[in-house]
Symmetry: C2
Subunit: 237 residues, 2 copies
DNA sequence: TTCCCCAAAATTGTTGACAATATCGTTGAC
DNA sequence: GTCAACGATATTGTCAACAATTTTGGGGAA
């Protein structure tokens, strides 16, 4: 479940990273949200040094932005970043499925099908949080099964960005694309049809990207500004 | 010149990262070399905390490996990592040149040609250190000119790995491929011939990769083992 | 009222000392 | 003579107090 694991270093720091990442995925933390160090220390019951390390890692990954001497916020990537991330994902993931077409074992196929079944279940029960999370995990699963550690690391960085973009620009919480497209990719992999798998992957990613292009320009940027929008311009006091 | 710059955060930490990276490129620091914190503090005249931060960043980038409670060493990627890095580079850089074919301004072309001229000069004067460094910088320059911040960051990670691999597995210090292949890529970009540019890039990277496949298995891993190899199995005492 | 300046509060950044852990050399027993 | 356990040393990991910076609030003058 925590697929944001770097190495077996300090477990607490990984926990902090995972929790923040999870909170972003399930929309509890929106892009632009402030992350005060002291707040995090008492939440996780640790010291400020740990929190600081975790934030540094998350900054490297692109999940948070650290403004020197002014604190850390959930990153707010622009449309440019979105397009970069999607095009890079396309390049990386096409290579991943090509690889899987050649090396996939029956167990790998079974694992993928099992994952899609979970997606379908979540979809059926209307658990939109799980749908989003599992949808992302599917792509990470492909990277894991292809056995390329480095490509997985890169894909993680890219997925973080596309997830942030989704959180920022998508109108409705429920993904429009169900697990069907994932299924088609797996079918192509099972058939060892490399070009077909690449084609399906391209189609899938384009679908994902186009789903949020719609609301490109005028969307929520930070929780603060969002709040200001729905409030009267004059406070009480 | 220092093309390993993240953000305008702390200048000293970037300096440390750059210097270590440079030392690796010019073979002063070999893969597997030990990096003691205290040593680095007195070299750079800073505190241990800074050094620690720099090492953490370099670990994220894949340049060093941190063994918990045991210190940091220059990373020693395996052949697997090499192949991953090269295939990912191919995917990313083909996208970059495609992008440049569409967006390159005359100034961009001039910048690239100027860089190649520098490469030629270094080649002519036999400055193998500059040749290696400039050869890497050429690819980063393409990423910079294409204007994709994210792709540049990813390419940096990949270049670090391939450079490490080169340092580990290449037999002779002088690169076999001169700036000619770079020139061909620029020609294709100038002609706006996307497929040709991709083809040239693929050819170039394959050339780079094949240049070190030769000595695949039995090559220096760490300075220690290397020393042991050339020594009699029995110590003196 | 509106603007500017200055002090207080809150937050981040840094430092140095201390604790935990691994490595190395030595001693002692077999 | 060899091996194992132990203590000394060196190195990394952690923490809490201190310093620097930014933000906030209030008072005074135009």
């Amino acid at each position: 479940m925590p697929w944001l694991t770097h190495s077996t270093k300090n477990e607490l720091i990984n926990l902090i990273c995972d929790r923040i990442w999870l909170a972003v995925v399930q929309r509890t933390l929106r892009p632009g949200a402030r992350l005060k160090e002291e707040e995090l220390t008492e939440i996780f019951g640790t010291t400020r040094a740990r929190v600081r390390q975790a934030l540094a890692i998350l900054e490297q990954d692109g999940l948070v932005t650290i403004y020197p001497n002014r604190g850390a916020c959930i990153a707010e990537p622009g449309v440019e970043d979105a397009q970069d991330a999607f095009s890079a994902r396309l390049a990386i993931e096409q290579r991943l499925v090509t690889r899987l077409c050649r090396s996939a074992s029956p167990e790998d196929i079974a694992t993928l099908r099992d994952h899609i079944a979970q997606e379908r279940a979540a979809h059926a029960r209307g658990d939109s949080e799980a749908v989003i999370r599992l949808s992302g995990e599917f792509h990470m699963l492909i990277a894991k099964l292809s056995g390329a550690e480095l490509l997985l690391k890169i894909l993680r960085m890219l997925t973080i960005r596309t997830s942030l973009i989704t959180a920022m620009y998508q109108t409705q919480a429920t993904q429009t694309c169900g697990p069907d497209e994932h299924d088609r990719i797996v079918v192509a992999i099972e058939a060892r049809d490399e070009s077909q798998a690449c084609h399906e992957m391209a189609h899938h990613l384009e679908h994902l990207e186009s789903a949020l292009r719609l609301s490109e320009a005028p969307m929520p940027v930070s929780a603060l500004r969002e709040a200001l929008h729905s409030m009267a311009p004059k406070g009480e006091t």
